[in-house]
Every structure is written in structure tokens, then in C-alpha cells.
């Protein structure tokens, strides 16, 4: 009964989304207040229906109802309850349901927290989001019904893919989906701007906090995914330029460009059509990401759900979205032109270069990711693009972007003189070069890459400190705390995120330059040495788990005659799937990780053991967390809320018409 209820809720959600799309768009076009209010309620109801559908599927998983095909295929009676809970999205159908739920959640949020928007603008945004929902729910219902029954009901299920039985996997997909789907809100704002022809500073202020929140989710989703790949796959890498990873990186890059473009649209009224194009691009790439992950066209690690017909469907959805929005763009964008003029050397100019670099990087990643698919489709030839391609392209594009990133906040709006700014930050630039020289000397690793990486980090950190000091000196308020409090959230956001990029680069550089790896055969009692650490394999013993049996090694880690820890890497054999699983063991540290994973038994009682020394890898995660924190700080900027209060006051006295235009100045 419960699965049927879920099925019904799903159909209901589809109908509500359709109502929301039609009433929202038509209501806004005709200025019908009743239709627009109904669209808003439909959005809330659609969310409620999807919560119900999702709850039904979760109930089926928790009650171990094997009469539901999805439950039988992705859980077993021995699967611990929390992996049954996360098993809901550890498969194609369930994750698509989560996608739709996240989308409906964003719509409900727009419906509930958008008092500052004019009624017609809100109706258009909800209409566009409703249309996206319609597309996704059709996809879900027709090609990937999560509630499909299984007759006869099996006595035991096939268990969840062991790779997904991990805490990181509990939070990774929801975060990533919230980010992907959040880009739909930015997209809907852009389409609504095209439809209404209204795109001013107030529009940018409405759009930016939503985009920021989506971008924060995307950042955290990528971070958790990367950390998961690092400790779960047992290869010690943190980024493989795998199509699935690229799928999340591309919308992130375009989303980053969008955030910066929105600044210019808000402050100077420029870059309008470009901002719209980026919003369309970010969402299209999110859809493409879904297509890449869900279609199984590529040999890739986490693409565990593979089905070409679904791929064709999602490709159709993507083509429709991109096609319609670009048509609309071509038709309406000329209305959006205008905005303040600026000289090449100016804040606007630097943000433009940032945008070009980010878009170029996303384009290059896109090319490398889909090129094999295109060649396969056109010529039937199988090929792949190796990670060196991505590194060769990505790094040279990011170096100028990072140099500029630290410099740009010193530039004035409209017009500046390059020599003035360069003279101002000369000490920081020289300092960065000296630190880099000392750095390569101290680590005894003299390569161009290490030098550049350290120099970039030092430059970003020094310039950020200088920026803060200058900012505090400028403040009119007396007293340090008053001055600190006077700095707006968006400034802190910029500062933290930029600093985070610096920290991230240091992690990437040092782990790349100094990491060490040893694949070695060890007999119990034998030892191996790596990077000054001595590893002793005490033995490997069998340990039972809830739904697996593990071969658990005991590896002592010694340094300078002192035992630091005993690591317990495992090789698990899950009962229901003949799939062995490597569980690496890591001694985490701020300055280095020591990483051990078990390879294969060698047949004579020995084991192939993988030993890694990973200096500064945590800094990659620290950097990403700082970047995300910056996004949070910017989204919390008081001016977005101040705007809310002011326009709320305005819209009481007047009909909803161009609010907040005065709040811009």
C-alpha cells in the first residue's frame, strides 16, 4: 500500500508542477493576481507531495519491503538501517527522486521566502521552475519509477553497492544535488528576467543570495565527493578528472563566474546579458552532469546507474532546456544591454577577465569530457582523454585567474591605473616570490610547479592580509571592533573564499610535489619504510561485519623509534554481492596523512600493501571549506535582508511595482 501511495504522490506532484508552470507563466503574462497566488500555493503543494513520495520510498527501505524492486536490488536484511536510509538515493531511481525533491524544496523556498520579489516576477520564477519540475517528473515516472513492484517477492535483497556503504556517501549526493538543482533557481531568475525584460540591480540582489547558497552546496558536495574518493577508493588520489567529477566541476566553474558577474550587474548594471547566459550555462551543465552520471556512456567509477534510454531522455531534456532558453535569449537579450561604461583596467575589467578564464576552463573541461562521446557517436572509435590533458589546460588558465583574484579587490570601479595598484602591492608580490624560493629550498623540491604553487598561495595570503589591513584603516568608525563590524558580509565572503583558494592551492601543490607511494608485498611481521615512516604488518585477521566479512590488517606506524598508531586497513567481502571492497586506513594530520590500504593477498600468506605519505592533503579540504564559508558569509550579507525589509514596507503601500530601485544606491 505504501509504495502505491508514493506512486500516487509522484503523479500528484507532476500535476501540481504543471499547474504551477502554467498558472505561474500565464498569470504573470496576464497580470492575474489569483493565478499567480495559485502558482505559489501549487509550488508548496508540489513540495509536500514529493516529501510524501520520498517518505514512502524511505519507509519501503526501512521496512525492508522486497516487494519493491528498488528495495530488493539495493538493500538486504543485513544492511544496517542507516545504509538502508541512504540506500534510497544509492541508485538511479531514488537519486532522481531526491533530485526532484531538492528541486521542489528550492521552489518551496522561493515561494516562502520571496516577499521582496514582485508578485509577477515571483510567479515567473516559479513558473519556470515548475516547468523544469514537469520535465524531471515525467522522466522519473516514465523511465525510472522508484516504486516498481517485484513479483514474486524475494526472500533476500541484493544489498547496497559496497562503495556506497560509507558515511561520506550519506551526505555527498544530497549536497551535490542541492547544488545542481539550486542552479535551477539562478536559471529561473535569468529566464524570468528575459521574459519580463526587467533586469536591474534589484534583480541581481534577488538572484545573488540564491545563487550563492546553491554554489555553497555545490562546493561542499564536490569537497565531500573528493574526500570520499580519497579514502574510499583506496588509490590515495583526490581528483581523477573522471567524467563524473568533471560533471560537478563544470557547473561550479560557471557558477563561480556567475557569482562574479552578478556583482557587476548589481553594482554597475553592466554584464547583463552575460550574466543571463552564465545562469543558463550553469544550469545546463548541471543537467549535462546528470546526463553524464546517469547514462553510463563512459567507463567511470561512480556511474553505478547505467541505462542508455534514460540517457537519451535526459539528453532530450537538456537539449530542450538549452534550446528554449537560448532562443529566448536571442530574442530578448538585446533589451538587456546597457550598463555603466568602464576602462579595461578597472574592477569591472578584472571581473570580466575572471569570467572569461572561468568560462574557458569550464569549456576546456567540457571538451575533454564529451570529446570521447562525440567521437564515439560520429566515428564509432573508442578513445579517452587522459588526466594530463586536464592538468595542462586547467592549470595555465587558473594561474592568471588566481594572480588576478588577489589583485582585483585593490582595483577601483570604472577606471584605475595599473601602475598605481601594482606599486601598492609590490611588497606583497616580492614577499610571495621570496617565500616561494624559501619554500622550494626548504622542501628540497625545486620544480617550476612547486615554486609557482607556493608563490601563488603566498601572494593570495599576503594580498588578503594587506586588503584587510587597508580596509580597517579606511573605516570611518572609531575603534577596531566597530570597524570590523562595519565590513559587510559580502566583503568577508570574498575575503574568505579568496583566502580559501590560496590554502587549497598550497595543499594541491605540496601533496603533488612531495607525496610518496609504495606498493609492496609484505608477509606478517615484515616491515617497509616510506618517507621516514616505518610500517610493520603485524598480521591480517578475519573480522565479521554486519553484512560482510573483513580481512583486517594491523599495520604499526613508527617514526623515529616511536610507534605513532596502529592502522587497520580492511579488505571486505560483502555477502550479497561478490564484490570485494578496500577500506583504507588513514592517520589524519594537519601536515600529513599516512595512508595504508590492502591490495590483494599473494597466496602465500602475504599481502600487497599500498603505503602513501600525503603531506598537506588536508589543506585541500581546509581550502574548500573556507571557500564554502565565504559563500555563506556573502549570502548572509545584511544588504540582502535590508532590501527585504524595505521592499516589504514599500509593497504594503503600493502595488508591487519596481521595488527596491532606490535601495540600490
Amino acid at each position: 500500500m505504501i509504495p502505491e501511495m508514493g506512486q500516487f504522490a509522484l503523479a500528484l506532484a507532476w500535476a501540481l508542477a504543471l499547474v504551477q508552470a502554467v498558472l505561474g507563466l500565464a498569470g504573470a503574462a496576464r497580470g492575474s493576481a489569483g493565478a499567480m497566488a495559485a502558482a505559489r500555493r501549487a509550488a508548496l503543494a508540489q513540495f509536500a507531495a514529493l516529501v510524501l513520495a520520498y517518505a514512502c520510498l524511505t519507509a519501503a527501505f526501512l521496512r525492508i519491503d522486497f516487494s519493491v524492486l528498488l528495495v530488493a536490488e539495493h538493500s538486504s536484511t543485513r544492511t544496517p538501517w542507516f545504509y538502508r536510509l541512504t540506500g534510497v538515493w544509492g541508485n538511479h531511481e531514488g537519486s532522481m527522486l531526491l533530485w526532484s525533491l531538492a528541486l521542489a524544496g528550492w521552489q518551496a523556498a522561493v515561494a516562502a521566502f520571496s516577499r521582496t520579489l514582485t508578485a509577477s516576477f515571483r510567479a515567473r520564477v516559479l513558473g519556470v521552475l515548475g516547468a523544469v519540475s514537469v520535465g524531471f517528473l515525467v522522466f522519473l515516472i516514465l523511465t525510472s519509477n522508484p516504486f516498481e513492484r517485484l513479483v514474486p517477492m524475494p526472500a533476500e535483497g541484493r544489498d547496497l553497492n559496497p562503495l556506497l556503504q560509507d558515511p561520506g556517501m550519506i551526505i555527498h549526493p544530497p549536497l551535490l544535488y542541492m547544488g545542481y538543482v539550486g542552479m535551477a533557481v539562478a536559471f529561473a531568475f535569468a529566464i524570468a528576467a528575459l521574459l519580463s525584460g526587467r533586469m536591474d540591480a534589484a534583480w541581481a540582489r534577488w538572484s545573488r543570495p540564491w545563487t550563492l547558497v546553491a554554489w555553497v552546496f555545490l562546493t561542499l558536495g564536490i569537497l565531500v565527493g573528493s574526500a570520499w574518493a580519497y579514502y574510499e577508493l583506496g588509490w590515495g588520489g583526490w581528483w581523477f578528472w573522471d567524467p563524473v567529477e568533471n560533471a560537478s566541476l563544470m557547473p561550479w566553474l560557471v557558477g563561480t563566474a556567475l557569482l562574479h558577474s552578478l556583482i557587476v550587474t548589481e553594482k554597475r548594471g553592466a554584464f547583463r546579458s552575460w550574466t543571463v547566459l552564465l545562469a543558463i550555462g550553469a544550469f545546463s551543465l548541471s543537467l549535462l552532469g546528470t546526463f553524464l552520471v546517469r547514462s553510463g556512456v563512459i567507463t567511470s567509477v561512480p556511474a553505478f546507474a547505467t541505462d542508455p534510454t534514460r540517457g537519451v531522455f535526459s539528453l532530450g531534456l537538456l537539449a530542450l532546456t538549452v534550446g528554449v532558453s537560448l532562443l529566448l535569449f536571442a530574442w530578448r537579450a538585446p533589451r538587456l544591454s546597457g550598463g555603466g561604461a568602464f576602462a579595461p583596467v578597472s574592477r569591472e575589467g578584472s571581473l570580466l577577465v575572471n569570467n572569461v578564464l572561468m568560462a574557458a576552463a569550464a569549456g576546456a573541461v567540457l571538451l575533454g569530457t564529451v570529446y570521447p562521446l562525440i567521437i564515439d557517436a560520429l566515428q564509432g572509435a573508442k578513445l579517452s582523454v587522459g588526466p594530463p590533458y586536464f592538468e595542462k589546460v586547467f592549470v595555465p588558465l587558473m594561474i592568471p585567474a588566481v594572480v588576478l583574484m588577489a589583485l582585483a579587490p585593490f582595483l577601483r570601479w570604472k577606471r584605475d591605473v595599473l601602475s598605481r595598484v601594482l606599486r601598492r602591492v609590490l611588497p606583497e608580490m616580492i614577499g610571495a616570490l621570496i617565500i616561494a624560493a624559501l619554500g622550494v629550498w626548504a622542501t628540497d623540491h625545486v620544480t617550476v610547479g612547486a615554486f609557482l604553487g607556493i608563490a601563488l598561495t603566498a601572494w593570495v595570503v599576503l594580498a588578503s592580509l594587506r586588503l584587510l589591513v587597508d580596509r580597517l584603516r579606511q573605516g570611518a568608525a572609531s575603534g577596531m571592533t566597530a570597524r570590523l563590524r562595519g565590513i559587510p558580509g559580502s566583503w568577508w565572503g570574498m575575503w574568505l573564499s579568496h583566502l580559501g583558494v590560496g590554502v587549497f592551492i598550497l595543499g594541491v601543490t605540496l601533496v603533488g610535489a612531495l607525496e610518496q607511494r609504495l606498493d609492496v608485498k609484505m608477509m606478517p611481521g615484515q616491515e617497509a619504510e616510506l618517507a621516514g615512516y616505518r610500517f610493520v604488518l603485524r598480521g591480517v585477521s578475519e573480522v565479521p561485519g554486519p553484512n560482510y566479512t573483513a580481512q583486517r590488517g594491523a599495520v604499526e606506524v613508527w617514526r623515529e623509534g616511536r610507534m605513532l598508531t596502529v592502522l587497520a586497513p580492511e579488505k571486505r567481502a560483502y555477502f550479497r554481492s561478490a564484490m570485494p571492497m578496500t577500506e583504507s586506513a588513514i592517520d589524519w594530520g594537519v601536515f600529513r596523512d599516512v595512508y595504508v590500504s590492502l591490495g590483494d593477498p599473494t597466496g602465500d600468506g602475504g599481502w600487497v600493501v599500498l603505503l602513501f605519505y600525503k603531506p598537506f592533503i588536508s589543506w585541500i579540504w581546509f581550502g574548500a571549506v573556507l571557500i564554502a564559508l565565504g559563500g555563506v558569509a556573502a549570502a548572509l550579507d545584511r544588504r540582502y535582508r535590508r532590501l527585504a525589509r524595505r521592499t516589504a514596507a514599500v509593497s504594503v503601500s503600493e502595488p508591487p511595482h519596481e521595488p527596491a530601485a532606490e535601495a540600490v544606491r
Binding site: 572569461v356 572509435a381 578513445l383 582523454v385 587522459g386 595542462k392 588558465l397 609492496v520 564484490m579 590483494d600
Partner: protein, 148 residues
């Protein structure tokens, strides 16, 4: 500078940047394309020597052996028509086993042994790597057209 001149400078700078990026992308692409060859193609000498490529198919039954160092392994990849020996130094992926699909990336040595730098296996017991499936399909299609 006039307003038009400034705009022109800006556009030219953006174009130069884009042009540079395109050149970078194309050259990096040319160097790093990794082609895929089936064991039959390798056996026929269609695969390049001294260039990295991928080979895929099934791991031949009974072919997996471990060299005395314990870390280097030898196995053979077959598309059911032809079989190519592969040598690899390192830990094999979790789902690597005889009779199952695998894809190896590396270079063909002059002795006809494929020296793998990376071995990919499928990551879910239900699915074959696309390339491995492709190799087997091709070989079987070739076999069926040869039959009378």
C-alpha cells in the same frame, strides 16, 4: 583613448585570451588522447608502438599470475578471438578477476606484451566496462561474419 578605442582594446584582449586558451586546449588534447584498441586490433598490429593506449576485454581464465616480487602481475586480456598478455606493477582494483571485464592503459612493448600503467575494472558486479564490452562484441561480430 576614445570610448570606442577602449572597447576595442578590451575585445581584442579578450579575443587574445580566448585564442591562447584554444591553442592550449588543442595542443594538450592532441598529446593526451588515449585511443582504445581491441585485442584483435593489437594482434593485427593496428595498435601504435611507443604510444599510450587502452586495451580491453575479458581477463582470460587461468591467466593471472603473480611474479616473485609479489606486486607485479601478469594476465591476458581477450576479446574471445585474440589474447594479449599484459604485465602490471601495482595493486589491482577490487573488482578485477579472471573471466571478468577489464580495461588496461599503457604501452605495447616490442615483445608484444602490453605494459599497463593503470588497470580499470568495472565498479559494480552488474556492469561491464563499456570498452571491454565493445571489444567482445566486435570480436564476436567478426566471428559471426566469417562463419558460412
Amino acid at each position: 583613448m576614445t570610448a570606442r578605442g577602449k572597447r576595442l582594446t578590451l575585445i581584442l584582449a579578450a579575443l587574445a585570451l580566448l585564442g591562447g586558451a584554444t591553442a592550449l586546449v588543442l595542443s594538450a588534447m592532441r598529446e593526451n588522447l588515449v585511443f582504445f584498441h581491441t585485442p584483435s586490433e593489437v594482434a593485427e598490429g593496428k595498435a601504435p608502438v611507443g604510444r599510450t593506449f587502452r586495451i580491453g576485454g575479458m581477463v582470460a581464465e587461468g591467466s593471472l599470475e603473480r611474479l616473485p616480487d609479489g606486486v607485479t602481475v601478469r594476465f591476458a586480456v581477450t576479446d574471445t578471438a585474440k589474447t594479449i598478455p599484459v604485465v602490471y606493477h601495482g595493486a589491482l582494483p577490487d573488482l578485477f578477476s579472471e573471466g571478468k571485464g577489464a580495461v588496461a592503459q599503457g604501452q605495447l612493448g616490442p615483445d608484444g606484451v602490453f605494459v599497463a600503467s593503470e588497470v580499470l575494472a568495472k565498479h559494480d558486479e552488474n556492469y561491464m566496462p563499456v570498452e571491454a564490452q565493445h571489444a567482445v562484441d566486435q570480436a564476436q561480430r567478426a566471428a559471426s561474419t566469417l562463419e558460412p
